[in-house]
């Protein structure tokens, strides 16, 4: 059987069209100017070292009385959740009446090389929670953790359950040894002590390279060939460049925190084994006493759904809800369908639990 139907004329036309699009697109690219990110107004309310706590301007007259703190991953930048007006999880949550704070970890440099997970979780996050509590005269607030930030939020909530009223985790790795977890597979034989002792902070470019290496044909080849076909459309090209900026805007990782994260989570899988300690605090998922909403993406290639869904094993008798989104790790924040499905569900759930 022959499944081939390319004609010489069609092939010629296609190549002419491709190269013409590239030529025209380069003109558009040359005039597109600076790519901006971030859609919602926010103000800095607390700062410590390179960590900044932002408060987003509410978009309703009377926002929900219990504020929501968003904890993003150390990898990449948090503006993914507020990329542009029509692709902003944060904006949709604000429109739903939530009062939102966000931790921005900044860009660690050599002076931050010795920051460990205890500094991040029992230090920065804890003090951010206290600061918000003081501003609202509350002893506990709501929390939403994204990806690695979700893992941090879980650890924090397990160590300080009295500080978190309700917890939402999004595309969060919990069991790091489920099948199909390629990052975990690669990390097992890595001498992470040697890596951190040699490199100090871990380069964001190295992490990017690792993420891209998970699907190299699609993420380094096909992506740019696809880009040619949208280059003549200024809006589409701008959206593409915005994502491109986010993907490549990768802060370096504080060496000690990276060492602890790889060893304790990826290599030892200590969170689900129940023998994780951060600082002098034991981290036990069984201590999660607050209502939990676990949001995962069914086609997530970075955090396999099974890794996220493992949480249900530890909270069998608790108020636990799962929300599955049919999409990938990034699409859950920027996809147009995601905007309609995910943030409204989170807002509804939070209102029910408060």
């Amino acid at each position: 059987m022959i499944s081939f139907a390319i004609t010489p004329e069609g092939a010629v036309n296609e190549l002419v069209q491709f190269n013409q699009s590239l030529a025209d697109g380069l003109q558009v690219l040359g005039n597109i100017g600076e790519v901006t990110v971030g859609a919602s107004a926010k103000e800095e309310v607390y700062r410590e070292d390179k960590m900044v706590l932002y408060h987003f301007a509410p978009r309703v007259a009377k926002p929900h009385p219990v504020p929501l703190l968003i904890v993003y991953a150390l990898v990449n930048r948090p503006y993914m959740a507020d990329l542009q007006e029509d692709r902003s999880t944060i904006r949709t949550l604000l429109d739903a009446g939530l009062d939102i704070y966000l931790i921005d970890w900044g860009y660690p440099d050599a002076s931050d090389r010795f920051l460990g997970l205890d500094d991040y979780i029992n230090g920065y996050i804890h003090r951010a929670v206290n600061e918000i509590g003081k501003r609202h005269q509350l002893s506990s607030i709501n929390m939403l953790g994204i990806c690695q930030g979700g893992t941090f939020s879980l650890c924090y909530s397990a160590m300080h359950p009295q500080k978190v009223r309700a917890l939402v985790t999004m595309v969060t790795p919990i069991d790091f040894h489920t099948s199909g977890n390629l990052l975990s597979h690669w990390a097992q034989k890595l001498d992470v002590d040697l890596l951190v002792d040699t490199m100090g902070n871990i380069s964001g470019d190295l992490l990017n390279m690792t993420f891209v290496s998970m699907k190299p044909f699609q993420l380094t080849g096909q992506k740019y060939v696809d880009m040619v076909s949208l280059m003549t459309d200024k809006e589409k090209l701008t959206n593409f460049l915005r994502m491109e900026k986010w993907i490549n805007d990768s802060p370096n990782q504080a060496g000690e925190a990276f060492r602890e994260f790889i060893k304790n989570f990826y290599q030892r899988n200590a969170l689900v084994k129940g023998d994780l300690e951060i600082g002098n605090h034991p981290v036990r998922l069984e201590n999660l006493s607050m209502p939990l909403l676990n949001v995962y993406a069914t086609e997530d290639h970075l955090v396999p759904p099974d890794s996220s869904k493992a949480l249900r094993r530890f909270v069998t008798d608790r108020d636990y809800t799962e929300l599955a989104f049919k999409g990938g790790h990034i699409g859950i924040y920027v996809g147009s369908r995601a905007q309609k499905e995910v943030p409204p569900s989170i807002a509804r759930w939070l209102r029910e639990k408060n």
Binding site: M1, I2, S3, F4, A5, I6, T7, P8, E9, G10, A11, V12, E14, L15, V16, F18, N19, Q20, L22, A23, L26, Q27, L29, G30, D49, A110, S111, R113, F114, L115, D119, G123, L182, W186, Q188, K189, L190, D191, L194, L195, T198, M199, G200, S203, D205, L206, N208, M209, K215, P216, F217, Q218, T220, G221, Q222, K223, Y224, V225, M227, V228
Partner: protein, 441 residues
């Protein structure tokens, strides 16, 4: 307009001009050569192109010009600008796509003529295209050097990241060392069996040098350089292992592509465009990649390569630190110690702040509880019967005052009313004035 943007604009204009001329000419030629073609079966197989040698030459010529514009192969006088920092991946992958298409178009250009079985012709053409890609891939891989424009761009991005992290500072250090090694070539990753004459001589020389015990007053330093050499050789071997796996993935991807073209799966859409053909290759590539990188073999090879690089870099860094210390210059180790001490101090300060906050809260709570206790004591000492009598007396007094005030207010109203009726002959409605400060209501 800045000089840089002016340059880019000129480049774009030249490029667009070339494009227009090239593709107009190409389209015109294609139109002419295709006129009068005998009826073919476009939905099943591509037709033969009359004058194919002409268009192949033309195609080749244009591709070369493209390459020249992208800063690649020599273009024979065509303008070229290094846009690598502007849009490198875009150009690299666009070029790749053109190249991919070129390979298949060449392979299919010979089809459609003679009395040969069309299906067999199709199979031969697919095999020819795959073989050509295989040759390109293996040729590139065996000449694999960092930043080589001929390398398939799929692997380029990750490799460049590694290069930027390791090669640049180490190249300088290797030059300082006086070793007959070019650090850039260290990233070639060839094992001794694949080395050229020069590389084999270098490796052979190195192995001898590394196995010779150093003597004399500089023996310690020599020993460190020997260790660096051993680590360097290890990096070479480990990278060769890793590159071999990448090559295997590339070839496996081609096998899968061939399989998909010759034995399409049930329900597979016919490939009716170059884009679909390219997509099929991408899918085949991802499948092959996933098949290999999930194995223990890849996991170990990847870790061995990374760990070898770290050992090498770590060792050189240590030597570099010692050199700087000898020159009384600050080095990484000293900076790390300072950063660590500062971090420890910060932690202690934060602990103290937290304790201070706790104490402050405790004192506040203690003060509040003291006040509460005092009030409680006062309450305890109060006699209820006395309080009751006092309250009753107060109530009585208030009732008397209320009566007196009511009487007073009634008398005042009647006086005002009589005054008003005597002046205007009308009864004016009385507006109540709120009591002023210090006034009795």
């Amino acid at each position: 307009m800045t000089e840089k943007s002016g340059l880019a604009a000129d480049w774009l204009n030249s490029w667009a001009d070339i494009q227009q001329k090239s593709w107009s000419a190409w389209s015109e030629m294609a139109r002419k050569t295709m006129t009068g073609l005998p009826g073919q079966m476009p939905s099943q197989m591509p037709g033969q192109m009359p004058g194919q040698d002409d268009w192949l030459r033309f195609w080749q010529d244009n591709i070369e010009r493209w390459n020249a514009l992208f800063g690649g192969a020599k273009g024979g006088g065509w303008p070229s600008l290094d846009m690598s920092n502007l849009s490198n991946p875009l150009f690299a992958h666009s070029q790749n796509y053109n190249r991919f298409a070129e390979v298949f178009l060449k392979a299919f250009s010979g089809m459609g003529g003679g009395d040969r079985d069309p299906v067999q012709q199709w199979k031969d053409a697919v095999s020819q295209g795959i073989e050509q890609l295989r040759r390109l891939f293996t040729a590139d891989a065996s000449n694999y050097k960092w930043g080589n424009d001929e390398m398939w761009a799929i692997w380029q991005h990750p490799m460049q990241s590694w290069q930027s992290m390791f090669a640049t500072p180490l190249t300088q250090l290797m030059q300082w060392s006086g070793l007959p090694l070019n650090a850039a070539n260290a990233w070639g990753g060839q094992a001794s069996s694949d080395f050229g004459v020069w590389e084999r001589m270098t490796r052979s020389w190195m192995e001898k040098w590394l196995s010779t015990p150093p003597v004399g007053s500089t023996r310690e330093v020599q020993e460190k350089w020997q260790q660096a050499g051993r680590y360097w050789l290890e990096v070479q071997s480990r990278q060769k292992e890793y590159n071999d796996i990448l090559l295997r993935i590339g070839l496996l991807a081609l096998e899968k592509l061939q399989q998909r073209l010759l034995n399409p799966a049930e329900g597979q859409q016919p490939v009716d465009s170059l884009r679909k053909l390219y997509q099929l290759w991408v899918d085949s590539g991802e499948e092959a990649y996933a098949q290999v990188v999930t194995t223990t073999e890849y996991q170990e090879a990847n870790a061995r390569w990374l760990n070898a690089m770290m050992r090498w870099r770590g060792h050189l860094q240590e030597m570099f630190d010692q050199t700087l210390a000898a020159m009384n210059l600050p080095n990484r180790g000293e900076l790390n110690s300072s950063h660590q001490r500062v971090m420890e101090l910060k932690r202690r300060v934060r602990q103290l702040e937290a304790k201070f906050d706790d104490l402050e809260t405790g004192v506040r709570q203690r003060d509040q509880s003291r006040e509460i206790n005092a009030l409680r004591d006062e309450m305890r000492h109060l006699r209820i019967d006395v309080v009751h009598d006092e309250l009753t007396a107060l109530k009585h007094e208030m009732a008397q005052m209320r009566t007196a005030l009511t009487a007073l207010a009634a008398g005042s109203d009647s006086e005002e009313e009589s005054e008003a009726s005597s002046t205007s002959g009308q009864v004016a409605p009385r507006k109540r004035r709120p009591a002023g400060k210090g006034e009795q209501p």
